[in-house]
């Protein structure tokens, strides 16, 4: 067993018992990156020297018997839409290709206090818009299980790096499924936290009312550890929630005894592949045997939800991305005669096609004469969906669905059919629209050998419950690491 194959919790045990050093852990992961990165392409920026220096500092703390946080010395990688002071943050876009933030995102400030080791910045769909990481301006990322396939998106670099052993843990962001869908495709565990539990300060905004930063790992406990480290009220983000946040990792009880699982036909509809359906139902049956009850719940149509999602997300994006205008930072076109020409050429050259489509859609649904029919109606649809989930959770504790309708698709397969690409999000966007937490965990492989993801959705602030259920299932399967591509 190589160190890079272990979970954060296992590595923490080894560190505290001095079976290995932080330097050895970091070296092992850096070695793995060296070995795999060419074929995976998960990273946009690597900071190996900083990583080794940070590991050295942890070893010094260890030597002087200072207490270590569970994440001390753990190699973590960061999605490239999270601002890192002094380290390029590009959002995988040409328009931010040279942007070096003079500040850290709040999650980075929080992680700085844990003494974790930063490996670098991860590839993603440009501005987190996409489901395959193919819209990155810089490079494609390949699914570690089969490099002809996409890793999912938009946090494709995050899931691929963790699955391939190129990072022990990673931060991603999830606006419509961007943590869960790549986790499903790569066989990792990914949490989209309750909206407002993780500060968005320093996360380059895609859709402010839907975006959440979340952890990706190879075990439930690891994901809980990282979530505990980044959650909490932040004075800099008024949408972050003030409440008591427990130590989630410590409080995990791997059990579903007495839990009621809700299933909705809407989420097993015709778009969902038979292999995925049967893998998810097998998981449900396994949990039933562990003492869970299963009921059926009624949820709004996924088509309607997807429509509301694309309207709200694009509307906010069109406004959030207006600041990239070549004036204060980022790319500026080379030749221009007027202000408008500078704006238009900068933005047309700086943004990729998918981002342009979202900006245009968002502009359209907000524009005079269309606002009521699209944006406002979508916001009222959102209220209706939130109400429907409140009702559903009055009869169950959590809802299980497939994370994605199918397993990973081939690179290039969907890139020219946007609507088909958007259908990848049909099972995940609801969670963002409703502001709920959801966890994606592996639940099998399809006949092509690609992982299948199971989505567990809970009511607001029920992350603890999701961890318990997922940990129970994890025990049944003998750990989730087997779904990663660590060999």
């Amino acid at each position: 067993m190589e160190l890079y194959q272990l979970t954060a919790w296992e590595l923490h045990q080894k560190l505290t018992t001095k079976e290995c050093s932080a330097k050895e852990i970091t070296q092992s992961v850096l070695g793995r990156i060296e070995q795999k990165e060419k074929e995976i392409g998960a990273y946009l920026t690597l900071t190996p020297d900083d990583a080794l220096a940070q590991a050295k500092a942890v070893d010094q703390k260890l030597a002087s018997e200072e207490p270590l946080s569970p994440l001390a010395g753990i190699p973590i990688a960061i999605k490239d839409n999270i601002c890192t002071k002094g380290v390029k943050t590009t959002c995988a876009s040409k328009i931010l290709s040279n942007f070096v933030p003079p500040y850290d995102a709040t999650v980075m400030e929080k992680l700085n206090g844990t003494d974790c080791v930063y490996l670098g910045k991860l590839n993603m769909d440009e501005f987190a818009m996409g489901s395959s990481t193919e819209t990155s301006f810089f490079q494609k990322t390949h699914n570690p299980h089969n490099t002809e396939y996409v890793p999912g998106g938009s946090s494709g670099g995050s899931a691929a790096a963790v699955s391939a052993g190129e990072a022990v843990l990673a931060l991603g962001s999830d606006t419509g499924g961007s943590i869960r869908q790549p986790s499903a495709y790569c066989g990792t565990v990914g949490l989209k936290p309750t909206y407002g539990t993780v500060s968005r300060y320093g996360l380059v905004a895609f859709a402010s009312s839907l975006d959440q930063i979340g952890p990706i790992g190879r075990s439930v406990k690891d994901v809980a550890l990282l979530y505990s480290a980044i959650c909490g009220k932040d004075e800099k983000d008024t949408t972050s929630v003030r409440r008591d946040y427990p130590d989630f990792a410590k409080e995990i009880v791997p059990s579903v005894k007495g839990m009621t699982i809700g299933l909705s036909d809407e989420y097993f509809g015709e778009g969902v592949s038979d292999e995925v359906k049967s893998a998810v139902m097998k998981a449900v049956d396994a949990l039933k045997e562990q003492g869970a009850k299963v009921v059926s719940v009624s949820l709004p149509s996924t088509d309607q939800t997807l429509a509301a999602y694309y309207i709200i997300a694009s509307a906010e994006a069109s406004s959030n991305l207006a600041r990239f205008d070549g004036v204060k930072y980022g790319y500026r076109t080379k030749e221009y005669a007027s202000l408008d020409e500078m704006y238009e050429k900068t933005r047309s050259e700086g943004f990729g096609d998918e981002v342009k489509r979202r900006i245009m859609l968002g502009t359209y649904v907000l524009s005079s004469g269309y606002y009521d029919a699209y944006y406002k109606k979508a916001k009222f649809t959102q209220k209706m969906i939130q109400e429907a989930f409140r009702n559903a959770f009055s009869s169950c504790d959590l809802i299980l669905t497939p994370t994605a309708p199918d397993t990973a698709f081939k690179i290039g397969e969907n890139i020219h059919d946007q609507v088909k690409m958007y259908m990848n999000d049909i099972l995940t966007v609801t969670v963002n629209i409703a502001g709920l937490p959801a966890l994606s965990v592996p639940c099998g492989f399809d006949t092509k050998g690609l992982p299948i993801g199971l989505q567990m959705i809970g009511p607001k602030f029920s992350e603890g419950l999701l961890f318990n259920a997922a940990a129970c299932y994890e025990e049944l399967l003998g750990g989730f690491s087997a779904f990663s591509a660590l060999k």
């Binding site: 601002c83 003079p102 300060y201 524009s367």
Partner: protein, 480 residues
């Protein structure tokens, strides 16, 4: 001109609030700093940054809302107004669209000797933009972000104003009120109060407004008067020539005294307002609101009318007094003693006291004037126990030593001489010594009288009753 027209005016006043920090970040809210030194990633719109609303901005806006008799919305929100411009780093301005903090108010203004009520549609909060610096020596424009995020309130009036004079009175009243309740410095030269103007004209007797034209870039109140008069004349000329007024935005050029088309209705911006997702709902508790409501003092426009009615002051005196919170409060304290005529008190406050305040740069409070002592002094002058000029000497001494006026008068022997014989003696002496002035007066140079009175006052060491001595001089000059 064959027809008579009425000008209809609505005003949108922007006032920068005098808070410590900016509206959405902790940068200092200050004027005149070196370029781009009062900025941070938030007000420069850097990726990933988020706004946090300054509580004082809400408090100041609500205060202004109560001052203008508005309904305060206990639940309101902020919205994004989207447009590209280099002085707007996020490419949207955070403002309030359909639910402003304050709505449906009014303000009474004083025009042509009577009050007129002007409706206030709404007051909302928003962020100011940065500044563009144009320098002809250079091919581009420079952007200074210091002003980005300076808090603004926008006060929108109903189209209730009917002349440039009314508009000026409205603007002066709004300015006096924001200063009085201390929410804005309202310094025109710093651009901390500015306005956009909507003008239309209609035929006299009509009750249908004409098409309105919006004018931007009006930076002074006197400029507003010129801009309104110009635009009304322009519209009337168009109508008289059989043309129609287009709904458009025009830019006022105060130097040229003309306005120019900025954009037509077809080019009007589509701002794509939508609720600001980075900020949550502004919810104001009833107790919070009533606390602010109770803190609103009597406002200058109402005080003004009361001073005219209750104290019979001239309009000039009343407006100068009410323009200052301190002076009007001090005035009212002295009036309340009931010893001295309000006009005499006003003369003192607007005369010597204001002069000393100007000279020393001190506020009334810092001058530490004992109101009761000043009242005693004014009473002595009123009762002619001392002369007005002796009063000034006493007052200066009071400021220096804090001694009572009675003590100072006694010590300096300033009691006024009203004894006819003693005064006649002085008058005779002066007349004898100034034959040239006597001749001058008799040759029609009547201002020689002033000189002679002055000489008599000097000879009496300021103690002679000037009115009596003047009488005596006159009787000699006119009769002998």
């Amino acid at each position: 001109m064959s027809k008579e027209y009425v000008t209809v005016i609505g005003l949108e006043v922007h006032a920068e609030l005098n808070t410590q920090s900016k509206i959405y970040c902790s940068c200092k809210n200050s004027f005149g700093a070196e370029v781009n030194t009062q900025c941070c990633p938030v007000c420069m719109g850097m990726p990933g940054t988020l706004p946090t609303l300054n509580e004082q901005v809400v408090a100041s806006a609500v205060k202004m809302g109560y001052a203008l008799n508005c309904t305060i919305n206990p639940v309101s929100k902020q919205d994004r107004k989207n447009y590209f411009y280099p002085d707007l780093p996020k490419a949207y301005q955070i403002s309030q669209f359909d639910i402003p903090l304050c709505e449906n108010g009014y303000v009474d203004i004083w025009v042509d000797g009577k009050e007129k009520r002007i409706g206030v549609t709404r007051i909302h909060i928003e962020e100011d933009a940065g500044k563009l610096i144009h320098d002809n020596s250079f091919a581009g424009s420079l952007v200074d972000f210091n002003r980005c995020g300076v808090p603004l309130i926008e006060i929108v009036s109903e189209p209730d104003l009917r002349s440039s004079k009314e508009a000026k009175a409205y603007l002066d009243t709004i300015k006096a009120i924001v200063q009085y309740i201390d929410v804005s410095d309202a310094k025109m030269q710093e651009g901390s109060i500015r306005c956009d103007i909507n003008v239309s004209v209609m035929e006299k007797g009509s009750d249908t407004f004409g098409t309105r034209v919006e004018m931007k870039n009006v930076n002074t109140f006197s400029g507003a008067v010129r801009a309104i008069e110009y635009e009304a004349a322009r519209q009337i000329a168009v109508l008289e020539q059989g043309g129609t007024i287009e709904q458009e935005t025009r830019r006022w050029d105060d130097q040229k005294g003309q306005n120019f088309l900025l954009r037509s209705k077809e080019d009007a911006h589509d701002y794509r307002y939508f609720p600001e997702p980075d900020l949550q709902t502004i919810v104001l508790e009833e107790s919070y609101l009533s606390q602010i409501k109770d803190s609103i003092p009597e406002l200058p426009n109402k005080k003004f009318v009361r001073y005219l009615a209750d104290y019979d002051l001239p309009e000039d005196d009343a407006s100068l007094l009410v323009a200052s919170v301190e002076k009007s409060a001090f005035f009212e304290t002295l009036v309340a003693f009931g010893d001295v005529k309000p006009k005499s008190i006003s003369n003192w406050i607007l005369g010597d006291i204001s002069r000393i305040m100007n000279e020393t740069g001190k506020s009334l409070d810092e001058l530490e004037i004992d109101a009761k002592a000043l009242d005693a002094l004014l009473l002595m002058i009123d009762q002619k126990k001392i002369s007005n000029s002796a009063g000034k000497t006493v007052f200066e001494e009071m400021l220096k030593t804090k001694a009572s006026p009675e003590e100072i008068v006694k010590e300096k022997g300033l009691l006024q001489i009203s004894d006819t014989d003693a005064l006649q003696e002085i008058v005779d002496q002066i007349l004898a010594a100034n034959q040239k002035s006597v001749d001058d007066y008799r040759n029609g140079k009547t201002n020689a009288l002033g000189f002679l009175v002055g000489q008599c006052m000097k000879a009496s060491k300021g103690k002679g009753n000037p009115a009596m001595m003047k009488e005596m001089l006159l009787s000699y000059l006119e009769n002998q």
